[in-house]
């Protein structure tokens, strides 16, 4: 601030690796939307990976449930498969925070599945990225 520059909120060039939730909660494709919603409430999360025989085949967010089921007056007993997003948007765990934010903006999404090699290893949300500053990695111990 003293030299007239805006304060740096955080380093956008750091990899998302440090902030990716390396836990991904999944639901089988034949389960109902209500079961998916219950799982989101149970774990206090906003998305689930949809699996079939162990492989991820889709993705479902709380927004999908709101838009595609509740707002349309559909029965929450329909299967997750019917409303899931089949086109998985993934990014590598080594991309930077800036690149992740760019993808979210371009695709108008708040969740990114994260891959390492060929495996999906976690998820990063817009909230995770915005929370980075609050979860700084270090304490002011000493300069040296």
């Amino acid at each position: 601030m003293l030299n007239g520059e805006l304060p740096k909120m955080y380093d956008l060039d750091q990899p998302i690796r440090n902030f990716v939730s390396k836990r991904l909660i999944e639901i089988e494709s034949y389960r109902t939307v209500q079961e998916a919603a219950k799982k989101m409430v149970e774990f206090n999360i906003s998305s689930l990976a949809v699996v079939e025989e162990g492989s991820i085949i889709g993705f479902i967010t709380d927004g999908d449930i709101k838009r595609k089921v509740v707002a349309e007056g559909l029965d929450p007993g329909i299967s997750v498969e019917e409303i899931m997003i089949e086109e998985l948007i993934t990014e590598d765990i080594d991309i930077t925070v800036q690149e992740a934010l760019d993808t979210m903006t371009k695709k108008n999404i708040k969740h990114l599945l994260v891959t390492e090699g060929t495996d999906v290893v976690g998820i990063v949300t817009l909230t995770d990225l915005l929370d980075i500053k609050r979860h700084s990695l270090d304490t002011y111990i000493s300069r040296e």
């Binding site: 750091q14 836990r23 774990f43 609050r134 111990i141």
Partner: protein, 497 residues
């Protein structure tokens, strides 16, 4: 890749240093197919020039690539300058195959304490950032980060060990190599192996042990760690390099625990009564099977604080267990705790679970200790319990906690941690340092709670307590804000992996 780790050689006079022994290892070091030799510090006994000159002669005889870092002994008598002149840089990194090895000096001149200050912390962070996609990430640091067993009183841990631990775990470091305590040990914390070497040639071995060095073999799927003692004995541990990150099925929920700490109940303004009352309302709404309070119940061990605590906790639905902090025992607390809160080592047992408390606090002291006798009694009680989930709770920390200067560690944390991990205890709850944190060591999930209702707390999210859900196949830990009841996931772990 096969790495040889030697440590704490203590080049110096015959009374400190077994010269003959160290030179006898040269042939093995040069001709055993090692791709790298690591020396994890305390090259010299006193940081003197003659010691460094002899050490340099020794390293010239090593025919394989090697990295040497300084320890606290090397920083004595202005020794760090001599280290740079005779041995090499004290901080840096080296690329090796598709991996990266980062080495930092943790020694403080003329002190046995360790520290990785902000500049070096940023160095590690920046290099991990630059090499984020490296196939193998190794960090080399003299002072241990995870407490070591059989090392007597826990001391000289890095002052910011919790921050370093968190940085290394989040950066997916594969291997952390340390020395310092002259006792070989290894712990897997999350996906990172923390390896400690014994002393290779100091006469000061521990508990009648002999000198040793470590051999670490890193494959694509497995890492093995072998301590080779100079009398020929070998001990080996193997760890998978597979990273368990994705969960499919949790099974049904077995048990729910609310975990709180440092409520600091009193009529003083530092006790946030609104936060406490809201936290209890949220806990009652969440309907846990058990509530565990890990100490710091009252602000001081005086009658009026305890009487207020009893009144406020009477609004809790369901069973609640307490273990004392030092402040709960102060003044008359030693008499008041058993009078108002029941016994010192409280226990909850059903067919599915056993929660066993162990009092680690001392009268009028923030320092914690369990002690050999109490530790043996604790594991005897646990082993006698039925099969099912086994949990221990105590006030002091078993592992370093981020965002705090490391002083909440139990004096004998190394011994207790080793036994907890070897016994595959499912869960350990602690309550010092007032910062929420959870990590898996071996198969044990260790959870620390923030202050639930005191102004003295360290979570950017505000005062909080933890909620722990134990499923057949997983264990989930959340931090729940005391005032608002909002929650965030601290972690989920597979119970069987």
């Amino acid at each position: 890749m096969k790495i040889c780790q030697i440590s704490d050689t203590h080049f110096g006079s015959e009374s400190d240093f077994n010269r003959k022994l160290l030179y006898s290892l040269l042939d093995r070091i040069n001709n055993s197919g090692f791709s790298l030799l690591i020396h994890s510090g305390d090259v010299t006994q006193s940081g003197r020039k003659d010691e460094y000159i002899e050490a340099r002669r020794f390293f010239k005889k090593i025919k394989i690539p090697h990295i040497v870092i300084p320890g606290n002994h090397d920083a004595r008598n202005g020794g760090l300058k001599l280290f740079e002149d005779h041995i090499g840089p004290v901080n840096g990194y080296k690329e090796i195959d598709d991996g990266i090895i980062i080495y930092v000096n943790s020694a403080i001149a003329d002190s046995d304490e360790g520290r990785v200050g902000m500049v070096k912390f940023d160095l590690i962070k920046d290099i991990l950032q630059k090499y984020t996609d490296a196939g193998l990430k190794v960090v080399l640091i003299h002072h241990h980060i995870i407490p070591i067993p059989m090392a007597g009183r826990e001391r000289n841990v890095l002052s910011n060990a919790g921050d370093i631990l968190d940085l290394l775990i989040k950066g997916d470091v594969d291997l952390v190599l340390s020395g310092h305590r002259h006792y070989p040990n290894v712990h897997k914390v999350e996906n990172t192996l923390f390896v400690n070497a014994g002393t290779t040639s100091s006469v000061k071995t521990r508990y009648g042990d002999v000198n040793s060095y470590n051999v670490i073999e890193i494959g694509d799927r497995e890492q093995s760690f072998t301590t080779v003692r100079v009398d020929g004995r070998k001990s080996e541990r193997k760890y998978s390099r597979k990273r368990n990150r994705v969960f499919y099925d949790f099974g049904s929920k077995i048990f729910r625990v609310a975990h709180l700490s440092n409520t600091f109940i009193s009529n003083d303004r530092s006790f946030l009564r609104k936060h406490f009352k809201n936290a209890i309302m949220t806990i009652n709404r969440l309907e846990p099977d058990l509530i565990v309070h890990c100490g710091g119940i009252v602000r001081e061990g005086i009658t009026q604080d305890y009487e207020l605590a009893v009144r406020l906790f009477s609004t809790v639905d369901g069973p609640i267990l307490f273990t004392p902090a030092g402040r709960d025992l102060n003044y008359l607390g030693y008499h008041l705790f058993p009078k108002y809160m029941d016994s010192f080592d409280q226990k909850y047992k059903t067919e599915d679970v056993v929660f066993q408390g162990v009092s680690s606090s001392q009268y009028d002291s923030p320092v914690g200790i369990v002690g050999d006798t109490q530790r043996k009694a604790l594991f005897k009680k646990l082993h006698e319990s039925s099969e099912g989930i086994k949990a221990i709770f105590l006030h002091h920390n078993l592992i370093p906690i981020p965002h705090s200067r490391e002083k909440g560690l139990l004096e004998d944390s190394g011994d207790l941690l080793r036994e907890v991990v070897d016994a595959e205890i499912d869960l350990v709850l602690t309550g010092t340092s007032s910062h929420p944190y959870a990590a898996k060591v071996g198969k044990t999930v260790i959870v620390n709670a923030n202050s639930t209702s005191s102004v003295y707390q360290r979570s950017v999210m505000g005062n909080s307590f933890n909620l722990i859900d134990i499923y057949e196949d997983a264990l989930a830990v959340y931090e729940v804000n005391s005032l608002w009841g909002s929650r965030r996931l601290l972690g989920i772990w597979n119970r069987n992996g």
